[in-house]
């Protein structure tokens, strides 16, 4: 049945288009194939725990999906903060002054050398002792995720900005733009277009790493799966569903990133 459908989908399309479409279709097929393939493995599966056609299975699924909101909120918040911090941290790296370049190096090297899970535990359990302020699991997660990721974003921004031709700065100077306007209207728009794929990657990485906040108790996808698993004793089915949840989320994000890339390249062909 499957083959009939996809030969219909793969009508001849112009050159590159066809390859891309093929790749997209096959990715989804792979995903769908996973379920029957796994359930075919015999008695070890008991899909009823997550079967939406029976009452308790449906409730379990709903319970698992209720973690979606936190996963998305956490990743989006952390990503936004990390992009802003990353940009700010990257700018001194481009300065002619050694002291400024050093601040960038120190930040990047220090932050990059702390394991994310360790940083998360430190922020959640340690930071309140240091500051006397209780920040809660969600914001601890956001801080750890965004701090950790910002070092990588900073490196990405630095690379992107450095790839913009020197003549662009000179041209901006001859139309009397100051530093901020030059960055905002001339350099960054060109840099961001070039680093979009890399930022997309980071976002996907962020979605996956957000599963670590389950250890400090944020009720996101992974935490929900953990909780359900301890009452239902069906870890195989539950964690399989969890994997599928992340896969769908990430396939959606990569499709979104590609769409943005295409849109940005639409007017100007370089």
């Amino acid at each position: 049945m499957g083959t009939g459908m996809d030969s219909h989908n793969l009508k001849p399309t112009p050159h590159g288009e066809r390859g891309k479409k093929k790749a997209r279709v096959s990715r989804w097929l792979l995903l769908l194939a996973l379920i029957p393939a796994l359930s075919a493995c015999g008695d070890s599966f008991g899909w009823y725990v997550v079967d939406p056609t029976n009452k308790s299975g449906w409730l379990n699924l709903k319970f698992m999906l209720s973690g979606l909101w936190y996963t998305i909120a956490l990743s989006l918040t952390a990503m936004s903060i990390s992009l802003v911090v990353g940009l700010i941290v990257s700018l001194p790296a481009l300065s002619p002054y050694k002291a400024l370049r050093m601040t960038n190096r120190v930040y990047v090297d220090v932050v990059r050398s702390v394991p994310l899970l360790v940083l998360m535990l430190w922020v959640y359990h340690g930071l309140p002792i240091l500051t006397g302020i209780q920040i809660g699991a969600f914001w601890s997660g956001v801080i750890a995720l965004s701090a950790s990721d910002s070092a990588f974003e900073a490196e990405i921004f630095r690379g992107g900005i450095q790839s913009v031709d020197k003549g662009q700065y000179e041209a901006a100077q001859t139309v009397a733009l100051g530093y901020t306007d030059t960055m905002r209207f001339v350099i960054l728009p060109q840099a961001i277009k070039r680093i979009l794929p890399a930022i997309g990657n980071q976002f996907i990485y962020m979605l996956k790493m957000s599963s670590l906040v389950s250890v400090i108790g944020v009720e996101e996808l992974t935490r929900k799966a953990n909780e359900l698993s301890t009452v239902e004793y069906r870890p195989l089915e539950i964690y399989t569903v969890l994997i599928l949840e992340y896969m769908v989320l990430i396939l959606l994000v990569s499709a979104g990133v590609r769409w943005m890339e295409r849109r940005m390249l639409a007017g100007e062909r370089r």
Binding site: G167, A172, E268
Partner: protein, 250 residues
Amino acid sequence: MSPNERTPVIRLHDVSKLYGDFRALDAVSLDVAEGERVVVCGPSGSGKSTLIRCVNRLEKHDEGEIVLDGVTLGNNRESRRVIADTVGMVFQQFNLFPHLTVLQNLTLGPVRSRGVSENDAKARAMKYLDRVRIPEQADKYPTQLSGGQQQRVAIARALCMEPRVMLFDEPTSALDPEMINEVLEVMAELAGSGMTMICVTHEMGFARRVADTMVFMDKGAIVETAPPEKFFTNPESARCQDFLQKILAH
């Protein structure tokens, strides 16, 4: 009217630029009067680009004095202001902003740094696009234009800042031969309108037609300064004779 009698807009006095020990400019002096058209030529590496780039401080000179519209240039706000208000520049490689349309390329400077309203800036941009004869390209992106069209957009972009002085650094040497004339034409018209210009070029026909003063540079120094009639028929230095022979030969 003889431009040389008026007070200079640009005065370079004993200007030197060093890269390590190497003197890219070596005690160069030059006065440019309001309305004067100076054409600079000389062999590759003689310091022509360095000279004009020192005038708008894309390069910082190390010795001597550059006075622009009465302001001695240095690393300060007043210098940046006078350069922004006075000098426009056109590059060999155009350096248009590739992510902006032609119109946006032209309005960015006036809107952001002159405080001109969006509408006035657009009107101004269309005026100068008309002048360089490509108003119909306003909504295209630079990469969709030919080299000659791109360079004319670059000229219009500089003019939108309404400068008193225009600097050209080999504006036609990145162009295919059939596009050189359309750009030179626009430049000649600009010269005819009374714009003060310093132009580095090897287009000697253009120079002969447009220049008030010819400057020949070699090894970081100005070797000869003369009006074109004298420069082309009776150059004094042997190096200049040699250079002209080579360049006019083909």
